[in-house]
């Protein structure tokens, strides 16, 4: 049983997909709930068991080969699973938080007609995500990578009657695909240079004595392009806010806790490669920081509760990449871990709010919910404090480590990085507390009809919120980066700066509190002050609300020209005018020539006889001349 444990973990959700998909509609919601939640929970328990095996062993990773996919020449592509401390942590997050969200969904999606379809898709997602984090080779990881993209597409466009929602799913898939092209190229380079796609062997090759014959930075950049797509970094971030069209638990699971962290996982997993790729790491750090900053600025003006959280996710992911870029891989994973807790809690809390508000998502029409839905409020507040980095909650520990290494790491840390990151942290605190205030603490701006129906969510939902809030509170005490130290050493930093650590932490806490205070000040009484500010800075506000018009830019630079070229140049000019045109010209020529020639056939018998005689006479004369 031990050998197949990893395969079991992966296959349990897949079984759920088939059972729910094929039998769910017939066997009813009870069956779907039990299977849909039970199998992920079983996967979680199996993961715990595997974790204990890992810890109880000699420290080497668990390795299981399922089967050989293809053998071409000297190269074997195998479907194998690899369980070391990093995969253990990721799998525990995926199955643990995943199971919680499945349970939450039983409450949230209770009245949806496509209940069975929802759970089968959710299970499918879990299957692919586990492939991603448990895969031993880039190939298996890629299978999972694309698979979660598929699940994301299906779940974002879940309510496909609405064409806008369906379009959001398509946008996610296409944007991810662009990143995947980079992933593929990086994979090909690695394969060409090293001859294997297994993570452990790739890392060993790059950290070993003989450097592989390919630029680590080039590979690193290509793989990072893939990560950009999956983890919604600039310039491929545009799909994540639109992905909020899907059901809220989907946003929590896929677009907060698990799928979007796949990019972070990939870079962290290949830390051996990235340690040899300083240029690529620099790019990652800058892109991550830029994304964090810009997404935070957009979040400040968003009015949809889920959109605020979406941009917040993009911003937090940017922080994670910043950490990766300066070599603090363990710290980035630490933030993945804490972020999973508080962001899931926030999204599910938002779901609870939406549930209570009968579908309303605009925070301008909320307010005063603290007393009406207290459990939601408290858990949401705890998670907000966590993301703002207030001690001793989880976010405080992870964000502070990131800021510290952004400042001090010898692999690219600088005061400039730290300053921008700190300012972003300030904005994070600001917009999150703005959200908290406008949703819960300000006087009510609710529509009376909606207000009448406000009610706390069922225990299946609030129970999960409580669990996640507790984890957001105490989760930070488990220092993931220490746990991962054996496989991901912390970057070196100038010890002369060590004395600055405590002051920096203090500054970080102060920034969090300043953000809190600013939000409280501006939004305390409602929207009035904010609206005055908005009018004073209307230009900036328009820019931010328009998300810097990136979508419009892409449409103008990529979308429309592609269509125009395809239609005008390729279709009309190329195919119709040139190719078919020359064809029709040829056939026309043949037909006209035939028409002319056929005039010989006059239908007059005499004429034919004359021609025959002339022919005979002519040939006789010719033979006589040349005979």
């Amino acid at each position: 049983m031990t050998m197949d444990l990893l395969t079991l973990i992966v296959l349990l959700p897949l079984a759920g997909f088939f059972l729910n998909g094929l039998l769910g509609n017939r066997l009813g919601k009870g069956f779907v709930s039990v299977v849909g939640c039970g199998l992920p929970i079983l996967a979680f328990l199996a993961t715990v068991r595997a974790f204990m095996q890992l810890q109880g062993g000699d420290g080497s990773a668990l390795l299981e080969t399922a089967y050989t996919w293809a053998i071409v020449g000297d190269f074997r592509f195998e479907i194998a699973f690899y369980f070391d401390r990093l995969s253990a942590l990721m799998t525990l997050i995926v199955t643990g938080v995943g199971s919680l969200i499945h349970v939450y969904s039983t409450g949230y999606m209770k009245d949806d007609a496509s209940y069975a379809r929802y759970f089968s898709y959710l299970n499918l997602f879990l299957f692919f995500m586990l492939l991603l984090v448990l895969g031993r080779s880039l190939l298996v990881c890629f299978v999972g990578w694309e698979g979660v993209g598929l699940a994301s597409y299906l779940l974002i466009g879940f309510w496909f009657d609405d064409p806008a929602k369906a379009a959001a799913g398509k946008k996610a898939f296409i944007t991810n695909r662009i990143g995947d092209a980079g992933f593929l190229l990086g994979m090909f380079l690695i394969y060409h240079a090293i001859g294997t796609l297994n993570f452990d062997e790739v890392n060993a090759a790059f950290t070993g004595p003989v450097a592989p014959a390919v630029s680590a930075s080039l590979v690193g950049l290509l793989l990072f392009i893939g990560a950009t797509g999956k983890s919604a970094q600039i310039p491929l971030h545009v799909w994540l806010p639109d992905a909020m069209a899907g059901p809220t638990p989907v946003s929590a699971l896929i677009h907060a806790a698990t799928m979007v962290t796949a990019g972070v996982y990939l870079v962290a997993r290949l830390n051996g490669l990235y340690l040899q790729a300083p240029e690529a790491s620099q790019v990652i750090a800058v892109v991550g920081l830029a994304t964090a900053f810009f997404a935070a600025t957009i979040a400040v003006v968003q009015t949809d509760i889920k959109k605020v959280l979406a941009y917040s996710t993009v911003s937090q992911l940017g922080f994670m990449f910043l950490a990766l870029g300066v070599g603090a891989y363990g710290v980035a994973v630490f933030h993945v871990y804490t972020h999973a807790f508080f962001k899931a809690c926030l999204f599910l809390g938002a779901g609870s709010v939406i549930h209570a508000m009968s579908g309303e998502q605009d925070i301008r029409r909320m307010g005063g919910l603290a007393k009406r839905i207290p459990i939601t409020f408290v858990t949401f507040a705890v998670a907000t404090a966590a993301i703002a980095g207030l001690p001793p909650l989880a976010g405080f520990f992870s964000k502070d480590e990131i800021l510290w290494f952004a400042f001090a790491s010898e692999r690219g840390g600088s005061p400039l990085l730290w300053a921008v990151a700190s300012f972003t942290a300030l904005m994070t605190a600001f917009y999150m507390f703005r959200l908290l205030w406008l949703t819960f603490l300000t006087p009510s701006r609710m529509d009376p009809e909606t207000s009448h129906h406000v009610h706390e969510s069922p225990f299946s939902m609030t129970g999960v919120l409580i669990v996640l809030a507790v984890l957001s509170a105490i989760g930070g005490f488990f220092h993931v980066y220490d746990f991962l130290e054996p496989i991901m050493p912390m970057p070196a930093y100038d010890h002369a700066l060590a004395h600055l650590k405590l002051p920096l932490i203090a500054i970080a806490v102060v920034t969090g509190l300043v953000g809190l205070a600013a939000a409280a000040f501006i939004y305390r009484g409602g929207l009035a002050r904010a609206e005055r500010l908005q009018q004073r800075f209307s230009g900036t506000h328009r820019l931010l609300s328009g998300k810097y018009y990136v979508d419009e830019l892409y449409e103008a630079v990529l979308g429309r020209p592609l269509n125009w070229v395809s239609e005008r140049v390729f279709l009309n000019l190329g195919d119709r005018a040139l190719i078919d045109g020359s064809l029709h010209g040829l056939t026309g020529l043949a037909q006209r020539a035939a028409g002319r020639l056929s005039r010989v056939e006059t239908g007059n018998l005499q004429f034919y006889v004359l021609l025959a005689v002339l022919g005979v006479v002519g040939s006789l004369a010719w033979m006589w001349r040349h005979g």
Binding site: S598, E601, T602, G603, N604, L605, Q606, V609, L610, V613
Partner: protein, 100 residues
């Protein structure tokens, strides 16, 4: 001019008359008759040469030609008859559907 040459000239004359007749006349039966004339011109030349070379092959060929000509006429005249019933004329210009 000796006998052979005279006979050959007669045979050429017959053949040419027949040929010109086929080319010029429009009446189907007359065209057939002219074709017979051409055949007979050829036959005459065959007989002439047979006599000249004192072999029998020419004469045998004459009989062959006669038989084939007879068979051909036996088929051609009914065809012309059937065709003429369709168009009620013996003018070959009446059939030009294969034009163009």
């Amino acid at each position: 001019m000796d006998r052979t040459q005279l006979l050959l000239m007669l045979s050429i004359a017959l053949f040419s008359l027949g040929l010109v007749g086929v080319m010029i006349r429009r009446n189907a039966l007359v065209m057939l008759m002219c074709m017979e004339l051409m055949l007979n011109g050829v036959v005459l030349s065959l007989v002439t040469f047979a006599e000249r070379t004192a072999t029998l092959s020419g004469a045998v060929l004459v009989f062959l030609v006669f038989v084939v000509a007879a068979a051909e006429i036996a088929i051609a005249i009914p065809i012309v008859l059937l065709l003429s019933r369709q168009r009620r004329t013996l003018d070959v210009g009446a059939w030009s559907e294969l034009k163009g």
